[in-house]
Symmetry: C2
Subunit: 125 residues, 2 copies
DNA sequence: TCCCTGTCTCGACGTTTGTCAAATCAGCCA
DNA sequence: TGGCTGATTTGACAAACGTCGAGACAGGGA
């Protein structure tokens, strides 16, 4: 492994998945892939972490700006949640010298959003 | 309770939540609400159930078309998953005589999708 | 009325998850 | 080289989750 700019990991980086759930039934294999990503979003701390990363002005954020923050949780726990998001393919991390930076994986976030796309039919709750 | 057309439950039916995570950091309260819905999507069986319901031609589907299907899981387990989706506010159920029908809650699905909205910047992974 | 079918609830089980403290790894600098 | 800071891994534990079988409830029909 080279020393600089190592992309930590991003196992589920499939390109494009499937039509919106409103258009056709998801097949079991696709459902497993997508569920892994949704599960990663199923925790308030991870959702806030992802939001911080995704909305960062520079497109990335240093972990040093996160740890011991207003998350009311220990450093290792933050690290654990970042790993879950990383292994789900929603973010990717990179070490630059002392610090580690995270940024979003746009394609996969977009994939989730379009999977949930529904037309707002009038009269529907 | 009246006998016909009883809406089973739909506790988290908040109207509109928050800007996309890419635009501003989610506050803790909103993150908790949204995470509850995402967690409900974090299981392959539930995702497939939601897809079946959401893509049903009539806008709703009878549980009798689901139970003992190709989900490789028992009836009570299907029932459990439907309950999780229901309590997350993603679907709602209604009994009509012998059968129970489920349909999607469009507003909340839309809310999740727009929370994940990201612009596909060129050159981003 | 009684039974039958469809759906849900209850209780139990093994597994997974979220959390922490302690230890470890990675890179910088004296 | 050694020590320092930043970030992750490990090991442990309680809580939550997914699953099932058994039983209960709801409605329809004989």
């Amino acid at each position: 492994m080279s020393k600089q700019l190592v992309v930590l990991d991003n196992p589920t980086n499939q390109e494009v998945c499937c039509p919106p759930i409103a258009e056709a039934s998801l097949d079991p294999g696709q459902a497993t892939d997508m569920a892994r990503m949704f599960k990663a979003l199923g925790d308030p701390i991870r959702l806030r972490l992802l939001s911080r990363i995704t909305s960062a002005p520079d497109g990335e954020i240093c972990v040093c700006e996160i740890t011991g923050d207003d998350f009311n949780v220990s450093g290792p726990t933050i690290s654990h949640h970042l790993k879950v998001l990383r292994e789900a393919g929603l973010i990717e991390g990179e070490r630059r010298g002392t610090w580690v930076y995270y940024r979003r994986v746009t394609a996969n976030l977009h994939q989730l959003a379009s999977l949930l796309a529904v037309q707002e039919t009038a009269g529907t709750v």
